[in-house]
C-alpha cells in the first residue's frame, strides 16, 4: 500500500519534470502559476490546516518575500540566492509580528487581524518609495547559476517545481513530527493541548513563522520570474484565493491542498473561453464542489485503517501496531 503510494508519487514527479517538453508556453505558464500556488498553499496549510488559525492576510508573506528579493536585487544588486535567506528571515519576523497580537484571539477576531495586517503590508507597498509605490518594482534581474542565466519559462518552471517539491516535503515532515502533532492538538482543542503541556504561544508563533517563510520563498521566486512586481498581486483577493485552494483541497491534507491549488488556477483558465460567464461559472462551481465535498476534495483522514471493525464491536484488533499518523 505504502509502496504503491511511493511509486505513484515518483511517477508524478517524473511527469512534472517532463511536462515542459510537451506543453506550449501558455500552459507552461499556467502550470508554473499552479506550482506557485502549491508552495503558497503548503505554507498556509500549516497555519490554517494544521494549527487551525484562520489567516486572511497570507499574501502579505508572499509580498515580503517578493519585495525583499526585488529590492535587494535591483537597489543593492545582490545575487538572487543570497536574497532568499534574508527574505525568509524577514518573513519569519513578520510572521511573529502578526502572530503575537493574535495569540489571545479566537478564530474570527484572528481573521480580521490577519486581514488587517495583509492590507497594511499592501498599503505600505503602495505608499513607500523603496517598494516603488503602486507601479511596484520592475526590471528585476534574472538569477544565475554559475554562468547560466535563468530566463526562459522552462527555467522558472523547474525552479518553482523544485521549491514546490521541497515545500511539500517540509510540510509533510513537519506534519508528521512532534511539532506538527502539537499544531493539530492546538487546532482540535487549545485548552486541552495546553493541559497536555503544549506551550500554545510558542507553537502558534512557530506555525506562523514557518508558514511565512514558505510563503516568502514563493514570493522571492515570483519576483524573479515575473521580473516585475506590484502591490496588486498581494491583495486581499490573493489571500482569499490561497485560502480557497487550501479549503477546497482539504484542510491539513497535503495532496488535497495540491489539488486545490491546481483547481483554483486552472479552472478560471479553462473557463477563459466563457468570457463574461467565466467567474460566474467559477463561483457556482465553488458552491457545488463544497456542497458535494464539504470536507474538501481530498480531506485529511485521521482514522487510517478501514472501519470494518466498527460493526462487530467486540472484535479485538491488535494485529497491526504500526500506524502512519
Amino acid at each position: 500500500m505504502k509502496k504503491y503510494k511511493k511509486h505513484s508519487l515518483l511517477l508524478l514527479v517524473i511527469v512534472m519534470f517532463i511536462l515542459p517538453l510537451l506543453l506550449d508556453i501558455y500552459w507552461l505558464d499556467v502550470l508554473t502559476l499552479v506550482l506557485f500556488y502549491v508552495v503558497l498553499t503548503q505554507g498556509l496549510n500549516i497555519v490554517v490546516g494544521y494549527t487551525g488559525l484562520l489567516d486572511l492576510g497570507y499574501a502579505a508573506f508572499f509580498a515580503v518575500g517578493a519585495y525583499t528579493t526585488a529590492i535587494l536585487m535591483t537597489t543593492f544588486h545582490w545575487s538572487f540566492w543570497l536574497t532568499l535567506p534574508v527574505a525568509a528571515l524577514f518573513a519569519a519576523v513578520a510572521g511573529i509580528i502578526v502572530g503575537t497580537p493574535t495569540l489571545r484571539l479566537r478564530s474570527d477576531y484572528l481573521a480580521i487581524v490577519t486581514l488587517g495586517f495583509g492590507e497594511i503590508v499592501r498599503i505600505l507597498a503602495i505608499n513607500l518609495d523603496i517598494t516603488g509605490s503602486s507601479s511596484g518594482i520592475y526590471g528585476i534581474p534574472r538569477p544565475t547559476i554559475g554562468s547560466y542565466v535563468l530566463s526562459s519559462q522552462q527555467d522558472f518552471y523547474y525552479l518553482i517545481l523544485i521549491v514546490a517539491i521541497i515545500s511539500v516535503l517540509v510540510v509533510y515532515r513537519l506534519g508528521h513530527s512532534r511539532i506538527g502533532r502539537a499544531w493539530v492538538y492546538i487546532r482540535e482543542d487549545e485548552d486541552a493541548a495546553e493541559a497536555m503541556g503544549i506551550n500554545r504561544i510558542r507553537l502558534k508563533l512557530l506555525s506562523y513563522a514557518t508558514g511565512a517563510v514558505i510563503g516568502s520563498l514563493a514570493g522571492s521566486i515570483f519576483a524573479v520570474k515575473m521580473s516585475a512586481i506590484a502591490p496588486l498581486s498581494f491583495s486581499f483577493l490573493q489571500s482569499v484565493m490561497i485560502l480557497l485552494a487550501v479549503v477546497l483541497g482539504g484542510l491539513g491534507s497535503i495532496p488535497g491542498v495540491v489539488i486545490g491549488a491546481a483547481l483554483v488556477i486552472v479552472l478560471p483558465e479553462v473557463l477563459r473561453g466563457a468570457e463574461d460567464w467565466r467567474y460566474l461559472i467559477f463561483g457556482v462551481a465553488l458552491v457545488i464542489m463544497m456542497i458535494f465535498r464539504p470536507q474538501g476534495i481530498l480531506p485529511k483522514k485521521y482514522e487510517t485503517e478501514d472501519r470494518s471493525d466498527l460493526d462487530e464491536k467486540e472484535e479485538t484488533n491488535d494485529k497491526d501496531h504500526s500506524m502512519s499518523v
Binding site: R307, L310, D311, K313
Partner: protein, 238 residues
C-alpha cells in the same frame, strides 16, 4: 393500559456504524420505563431516533397511532415528546430564564404558561432562581443538569425522555431528581429514563429494557429485573 409509543425493528446508523439493530420497544401511557445498557449500547441513539435527531434507516416508530418516521424534530416536540439529551446541552450564552423560555417555544403564544412554567421550575430548583439572570454557561455541572430538566418540562411533555439525568449530580440532588421524576409521572407524564444509576432507576420504574449492541436483550417489570443475575452483576452490584 394504552400504548403510547411503539418502536418496531428500528435500525439506525451513524454513517456506516450501525447503532440500533432491529430494536423494538413499547411504552404505555403513564409508565416510567427504564432503559439500561452499558456504554455505547445504543441507549442515547434510541432516544435520538425517537426525537428525530437520528433518522432510522428502517423500522417503524408509532406515536399515538401515528408514524414518526421522517417527521422533523420540532414537529415531534410539538406532538408532546420531549427529549432531555445527554450532556445537558443547555444554551450557555443565554440566561437561565431565557433557557426556560426557549423550553416553552411551542407555547410561545401563551405568555401565561411561560411565566408560570418558569415559576414552577424555580420552585423545583431554588438554586436556579438565585441565578435567573446569569449566563447558563457559568453554572456548575449539576446546576446545568437541573436547568436541562426544567427546560424539558417547560414544553409540557406527554412523554419525557431523560438521558442520564443524574450524571454528575451530588447524591442529595440525585434523590431530589428521582423524587421529581416520580412527581412528574404522577401528574400524568409518561417517562422514558436512561440511567447508569440502575438501582435508583429500577426503584423508580415500572418496567425496564436492557439494551446491548443496539438490540433489546431483555425486558420485564422492574421488580423482576432487579433480581436478575446479569443485571445485578453489571448494573447493581451485589
Amino acid at each position: 393500559m394504552k400504548s403510547l409509543l411503539k418502536l418496531t425493528n428500528v435500525n439506525s446508523y451513524y454513517g456506516k456504524i450501525r447503532a440500533l439493530n432491529n430494536l423494538s420497544l413499547e411504552i404505555n401511557e403513564g409508565e416510567i420505563v427504564a432503559l439500561l445498557g452499558s456504554n455505547g449500547a445504543g441507549k442515547s441513539t434510541t432516544l435520538k431516533t425517537i426525537s428525530g435527531l437520528v433518522k432510522p434507516k428502517s423500522g417503524e416508530i408509532e406515536w399515538n397511532g401515528q408514524s414518526l418516521v421522517g417527521v422533523p424534530p420540532h414537529k415531534i416536540v410539538e406532538s408532546g415528546i420531549i427529549h432531555v439529551p445527554e450532556g445537558r446541552r443547555i444554551f450557555g450564552g443565554l440566561t437561565i430564564t431565557e433557557n426556560l423560555e426557549l423550553g416553552a417555544f411551542t407555547f410561545r403564544k401563551n405568555k401565561k404558561w411561560v411565566r408560570e412554567g418558569i415559576e414552577r421550575s424555580f420552585d423545583l430548583f431554588p438554586r436556579l432562581k438565585e441565578r435567573a439572570k446569569q449566563p447558563a454557561g457559568t453554572l456548575s455541572g449539576g446546576e446545568q443538569q437541573m436547568l436541562a430538566i426544567s427546560r424539558g418540562l417547560m414544553g409540557d411533555p406527554k412523554l419525557l425522555m431523560l438521558d442520564e439525568p443524574s450524571m454528575g449530580l451530588a447524591p442529595i440532588i440525585v434523590q431530589e431528581i428521582m423524587r421529581i421524576i416520580k412527581e412528574i409521572n404522577k401528574q400524568g407524564t409518561t417517562i422514558l429514563l436512561i440511567e447508569q444509576n440502575a438501582k435508583a432507576a429500577l426503584r423508580l420504574a415500572n418496567r425496564g429494557y436492557l439494551i446491548e449492541i443496539g438490540n433489546i436483550i431483555m425486558h420485564d417489570t422492574a421488580d423482576v429485573l432487579r433480581m436478575d443475575d446479569k443485571i445485578i452483576k453489571a448494573y447493581l452490584g451485589a
